[in-house]
Amino acid sequence: MQATLSPPVRSKRLPMSLARRFKMVGLCGLLTACTADADQVRPPDDQLFFPTGIVVAESQGVAFVANANSELRFDSGAISVLSLDTIDDVVARWITSGDIPTDCEQDPDHRETLICDEAQFFNQGAGVRIGNFATEIALQDLGSNMLRLVVPTRGDPSIAWADWDGGRLSCNPNGDPNALCDDAHRLSYVQNNADLSGIPDEPFGVYADSAGEFAVVTHLTSGAVTLIDSPKSGTVQVADVLTGVFAADPTNGLRGATGVVGLPRATGGIVYVGSRSEDRIQTFTVGKPVNAAPPYLLPGSWFFLDAVGGNTGSSNDTRGMAFSPDGGRLYLVNRRPPSVQIFDTTTGPTGSPQNRAIGATDICRQASTVAVSGTGDAERAYVTCFQDGLLYVIDPRGDVELEDIVLVGRGPYAVAAAATRNKVFVTNFLEDTIAVLDTSPTSSRRNRVVLRIGKARVL
């Protein structure tokens, strides 16, 4: 067993954090095996350990991966930085000439796949350390090649954020590489004020709005929605928390907010939030008062998921949500019944989004997340199937066809697309790998895993 170290000193500790800390100290005192020092339990910055969220910043040539540290092997989770150029290079040489670099091997079971040790793909020293059990990553464009990452972590619970300056992430003023995010970068309290309420449990989904300079986080077990005020310059803070957005499921009592995504707009998006307990999508906008008070959530209209399923058109347990690049389509992944549903979100004749179901297809059970890549005829949705280890590729044209089912690895969690590089990345939570798919329409390996970053953990 390895200990999980407490974070650096907070301005005001959570009671439970203290209690846990004392328990850990006591436990360490009793167990002679608990002798690991800080360096030994510090997470490496060149390994994957229970990867969950992933986002791609194509313009920066990087992808950011959240390592959830779900086994608590290390003292924290991490956000690691992958070099897209290195990946492109390895894949290109593998496909065109069959080159197998050092620390790589051909997958004996899937000959089109190259398996590589992950260290060569990481920008070492560019990542940061965050809390355990990170879920997703949202990307906010700050302009001038600056990015901001917002990452819910369920362990604390908190919402971590870190800024990317083009070369590395930072979330701690000490400037150390791979530093642990400080309290200011781990949002736990409303308005960063420990005397106010903490954020609800189980932060889960996240969306960051670059134009609106805010982020929205959903909470899996409470149905709450949290607003993060994220100005390009200024204090990042929890600005508003709205509970009771979704009612409890009458059959099992569960409630929860899950997927969240924003309709891309130049002036700040309309945010769509899904639920695990209701067959309803709730929209929000964000109000910014003129007196410089913190922004707040403005609940908008809602619509029911009554276009698919169950002989009565009732589906729920929404998970992944994504918009097409032009914002004209909303893709929803629902677990009951398992389906991808497509909504027309173009502006209607009245000036508001139409939010009308236009298509659907059956998918795997226990689907998790969805990413959309390409435009026009090339637009495809990629859905991860955690239980089956599959990635479903959906062609939205016509009657919405399932184009491909791809075996990607154990426990695929999140998916992200690099459209101009014709690649899709899937984090495999249960085997500590990232599957890289070739999505080039002219490739003979289209929709196949051409590279597996990391060697699958033996169960």
Binding site: R20, S70, E71, L72, N132, T135, R154, G155, V190, Q191, S197, E202, D240, V241, T243, G244, V245, R265, I270, R280, T285, V290, N291, A293, P294, L297, P299, S301, W302, F304, D306, A307, V308, G310, T312, G313, D317, R336, P337, S339, G348, T350, G351, S352, A357, I358, A360, R365, D377, F386, Q387, R397, G398, D399, I405, F429, P441, T442, S444, R446
Partner: protein
Amino acid sequence: MNRVFDLSRGLAVALAAVTAISCGDTTSTPPSQLNLDRPVDVAFACYGGLRVTNGGPPTPTQDIITTAQPYGACDARSGPRVCVDPDGADDIPGNADDCPVTEAPVPTGQESLTAMDGAPIPAAAWYGFILQSAPGTVAIARFPTKPSVAFTGGDVAMLDSDPLTPGKNGISVGEDPVAIVADKVGCWQVIANAGSCDLSGLDVNSALDNDPSVRVIRIAVQNANGQVVDARPAAMVAEPAAGVIGATCSADHPTGIVYVAYPSCHLVAAVDTASGTIVGGVRYDLAGVASVLTAAEIPSVSCPAECDGGGAIAGGVRPIALDLEEDPSAVPVTRRLLIGADNSPALTLVELDELTSLPDSLRPIPLENTVTAPALLGVTSVAIAPQIGMGGASGVINDQLSTTKFNFAYAITTDDTIRVVDLDGGRECDAQVDPRLLNDNRNVSELSCPMIGTPGTQRRPGARGPGIELFADAIPTSIRIFRAPELLGEDPRLTGPTKLIGYFGIITAATGATFVLNVDDDDFADFETAGDPLEVQLPLVIAHQLRDALPARDLRATTDVEGETKRICDTNGPDPDAQGGNFGGPRATTSPTRNVPAGNVAAEKVQILPGIRQVLCEGVDSTKPVSELSLVAPDAIRDFEYPDLRALRDETWAMTWEGSLSTDRADSDVDGPAVRTSQIFVDGGGFRIVDQAAPFCAAGVEQYDIVQLRGCDPSVGDAECPLGYTCFVHPNSEVAGIGACMLENEAERLADACKDFLTSQRRYTVGRSASGELRLLPRKSVLRTTPLDGCTDNAQCEMLADYASELTSSAHPFNDTPADSRTWACRVDTERAPLNGPGQTGKRCLETCTTDPASKCTTGRVCQIAAGQTEGYCMEGVTPPQACVNAPQRYELRASEAFTVIGTRTGYVHSTIRDTTSTDKCTKDPAGHPFEVGRIGLNPPPCDPTADPRTGRRPDGTFGPNPCSTTVEQTEIQPAYANDQCVEASPATTTAMRQAPAITFHNRGMALTLVDPTYPGDARCIRDRMGTLAKVPVVFPGYQLSWRQTGGFAPLILPLTAAYPVKVVRGPTGSIWVIDEGDYISTSQTQPSTRGKVFRVEPQGLGQINILE
């Protein structure tokens, strides 16, 4: 939703989170044996005993084998049983008394020759080959050869192709298979594989014999030059079944032609399944024009190598939907291929050679494009119907007798409708013609395929286009047309919607529902009956309409008196909530209810308020006034009021004076939230509500409408305010239950500055409505009894104020002494709709106040006096300083000086759109139908006597005003007085008829009449109507008429428990097969989860369903 300041935290987070990581799931599903996995298609085969005659005469010495055989062999065996008649009597088939012994018919050459020492022929059975996309396998089901009406629940059973592996296993055939068809002679099944861009052949004999080995071959599609066509197929159909009954399956490959759609190649190829060679086809050029491949083109036809990454895919028409039908009943026999593309608003009809099945010719059939550019209409599924003799109501299919024959095809398009085309005429039919326009049409030909775009075929209000729309906006996924023949002998079925005789469609939808479509119902009338307006509900019986599920649409309220049918009046009709289900025509379940907020009118005077017209019902049980909406209203009135049953739904309607424009509650999403939340800005741009979601044109907000700010509810603390805000109630406020969210550290400080705002009713006028912004104007208090044409002077206003006060008194006018203590002035109010019509004064009675401290305004109004003046106006809302409204603002949108007409399912109907030409302003859609309306003012234009009262159309084709003013006969119970002291007479009431001022109103599904928009006042006694007030309204905000509407359209839906049905297939003996691809995760202990199902439905008994899963 609540905002909370909960300080509690989750405990033991780390380990808990390990187990509750989001990718896990706590849903438990009951274990179940699942035989299917994502079924997407099914094809059929006949297999069993066969005498090998090779088409010759049968002899006892010929070999008897067990083999696959042509489709017709089992078809013949599935016919009606033949009577075995040992005594030679003339027996009646099916009658057990007359014919105790029957036997199955057999095809020619397969007769039993055991009497001649021939070997017996083993039985043959049907087999269904169910294609499963996810595993790439074919599952097999078996069912007997017997008449379709004889099927029972256990007749269709799954087989196991691998008994040594647990469960019932399928046969692996290919990667991502998309379609399966039987080959021409029934010996092979052919599968199109999208994952490997080829075809597979499955040897039926090897799949069904006792040998566990199964023969599956891969067929690479190639051109005559040997180049492989490595494109992804999207659909496949086969040429009609043929073959000789008595021949063996000797070929080691399939036989016949299949057509394969290759969308990325813009090609539909005719492939010889024996060799995989393309032998013909249809190709779309870059301009989207289809042509038959020429002999020169066929050998070199090629496609991008999608499965091997070679070649770029060029843009172009993408064929993805095919149907191929031969109609032997047509003269001459037709063999047609219909092609639909998902990015082309046209179908391609290909005439095939009757012998070779190769294309002879083609022609495009354009479809009306109903989507907005750059989107393009496309087709996702097509179905060809056989040639149908339209018309007929005798209960016998009249194809031979009818002189009006049509060959329809149906196409599911990307606007989520089903288009209808007349293949012979090469044109699209309009399935959305307003039935009001067809009421007198008796021309079966015109009714079968209405022309698009003619004055006589204008569409019903709200129609998206010419296509069939499913109920509740369900997304159609597949359609197939089938023939439901009459039963021989006495038909045991109940007369009603489930009795199908004629031609009908089955439409699957993404909702899981499976709808029935009327094409030609030969058991029911085809047009209105002139003398009996209720006998035929035209919107339900004309071709291409969803079939209705409610029986007895022509039900009247009657009773039997000594053998004669007599009308009765003391009934509301069938109970719509009865356990046995609803029936009967459209009606209000009770007379409309008047909902009267307290304090506005005395109970004795409620009847002076506007109401829904009442008519006289004369029955054997009573004679009395009844609502025109009731079941007991005269037939002609009911027929007039419910002209389009398809547009009528079961719901509760409410007509509310100055009611909300939006009705959404927690369980509905009809037309927007009743209470919205946005930001308010008070700056150089004015006093504005701004919403980034741009909801205001969608809500139908008009200039001069009302915005009622709702503040926050102090009874729930600060829960309706953001974090850091408090729900502040001004100590001087007399408006109950309304606070305002203000920053906790600012509320007290701003109390004085915000006093007028916080103590007012906070009602505002919409000065300008745009999609994302409403400009608000402070709203003056106006006397509710202000004449509709405006007031004339202050004295009149004071008099009418007294009258308004009198309305709240229960006393008779002759001894009432009302006194209104407020002051009123007759002036122009620029914040309300102008009164500048002919005969109007332009002025309203406005509540005024002065600087005198004794001057008081009505509660909730605040006195606002301009600087330097001594008199001002009582305001319902004032412009607040920005600091008072920095928090989110909750508000309602309400109509001004009008009733809103809102259905709980229909919502508020309007034709407001956003003006995109210059501004963001909300405006009326110039193309909107005049019946797309949801508000009734009290002073609408007079009805045009030249306009048709049913359709609203004038002779020149334009529409008269809607709503419009008129006069109607009103029947009511009036009080009777014995003297001028208003003493009740005996009896105290009388039933009387009078000519009443009225307003007629049409919307999509109904027409109704509102009577008494104004009241003349009483002279001495309550409701003596002897006053002399001219056009004085007595309504008040919140007054509401409501009624429950029942008997609306209820689609006939097959009783299938499907999750996501994707395809309908016509099976043997006219059976309907519905393929449910969907994965249903059950939450019930009694119903297992599935990975898809296949249903077999018997058209002659829709409740007879076989389920495979």
